[in-house]
């Protein structure tokens, strides 16, 4: 270790050098040359800034307490842990639910079929999935748009050509695009799960308009979407019993993956980075103690010169 350090840093590091260290430390401190009033001004500014931040935080909390919404409970997901990846069998079932149930009304235009390769499906399966839908392409040589079978590079097909068509077909309510929905809602996949399983009768005093349904997890309670998830409302290719909560859980996990496809790699890289940084922290502590050792083991006295 010492040989390497000497090689990298030169011999200066190993010499007793308390004079240099003391000067350097003195240089780092910017407040040593300040006057009394400057210090007082800085302290006041710091206290005011901190106080304003604290005030803003408390006021913001009290505003949130007035929301007319039921916050979703936090569930324990297979990917909840610091080092836990998605359960990819669950993601695959979630895609099946999306295709059989959600895709009837919701678009998912920012997800391409090819992104499923190596996550939930093999390349051959994805090619077959994409070929099932017809995609508008063109213009051809004559300037006409034409339909062709989908390819893995195409995005998931949208049920409506545009937002107005979607509103017209759904009583004026726009079914949001689900590509990034767990990133766009407080509570993420917990919210989606709670919403899908949280439908109930409207309590006394709440009047719903034509085509509206009651869901306490939805802002305001009145939601345009009818309950879509029931027992057996989807079919799983791997034979898992399709209970309502199983369906909701799998599709919520799938939507989380859509919002955050880098999730697994992110946790793995974070794990590696934290391990490395632990080693670097140990090295820098060793280095600091080494540099300071001469100074820490000496007693420094200030003896004023006697006036002549």
């Amino acid at each position: 270790m010492a040989a390497c350090m000497r090689r990298i840093c030169g011999s200066g590091l190993l010499k007793s050098n308390h004079g240099i260290v003391l000067q350097q430390v003195n240089k780092f401190s910017s407040s040593s040359s300040w006057t009394r009033s400057q210090k007082a001004l800085c302290t006041t500014a710091g206290i005011l800034t901190g106080g304003a931040a604290a005030l803003w935080y408390t006021l913001d909390r009290s505003v949130q307490a007035a929301d007319l919404i039921l916050h979703p409970p936090e569930n324990h997901w297979p990917h909840s842990g610091l080092l836990s990846t998605f359960d990819h069998a669950s993601l695959r079932r979630g895609y099946e639910v999306y295709k059989q149930v959600c895709a009837a009304c919701h678009s998912m235009q920012y997800i391409r079929f090819r992104e499923l390769i190596g996550v939930t499906h093999t390349e051959d399966e994805v090619k077959a999935e994409a070929a099932e839908c017809m995609v508008e392409d063109g213009p051809d040589d004559a300037g006409n748009m034409f339909k062709r079978p989908g390819k893995p590079a195409d995005s998931f097909p949208s049920p409506y050509p545009n937002e107005n068509a979607a509103r017209a077909a759904n009583n004026g309510a726009y079914p949001p695009d689900l590509s990034y929905i767990t990133a766009a809602r407080h509570g993420g996949e917990d919210y989606v799960f709670a919403l899908l399983t949280g439908y109930s009768e409207a309590p006394a005093g709440v009047t719903l308009q034509e085509g509206q349904h009651y869901n306490p997890y939805f802002m305001g309670g009145a939601i345009g979407m009818a309950q879509a998830i029931y027992n057996e409302s989807a079919e799983f290719g791997d034979g898992t019993p399709a209970s309502a909560s199983q369906i909701a859980k799998d599709v919520s996990a799938f939507l989380r993956w859509c919002s955050e496809p880098e999730h697994d790699e992110r946790k793995k890289t974070g794990f590696k980075a934290l391990l490395m940084l632990t080693v670097f922290t140990a090295i820098s502590i060793y280095w600091k103690r080494h540099v300071w050792s001469s100074l820490k083991s000496e007693k420094i006295l200030y003896v004023p010169r006697k006036k002549l």
Partner: protein, 55 residues
């Protein structure tokens, strides 16, 4: 001191040692962390369920 004489004394061998050492360390560190990560997530990742869907 043998280590110093053989590897660290000459700049050429020192630089070579750093390069080779970095490569060996990175590969082994990556293998180690991947093994730990895969053990924690056994049965959940795509590579664990891929065999069910490939012909």
């Amino acid at each position: 001191m043998a280590l110093f004489e053989v590897l660290f004394k000459r700049t050429s061998t020192f630089a070579l040692t750093v390069a080779v050492g970095a490569f060996v360390f990175e590969r082994s560190f990556d293998a180690l962390t991947t093994t730990i990560f895969d053990r924690i997530n056994e049965g959940k990742q795509w590579k664990d369920i891929k065999k069910n869907y490939e012909q």
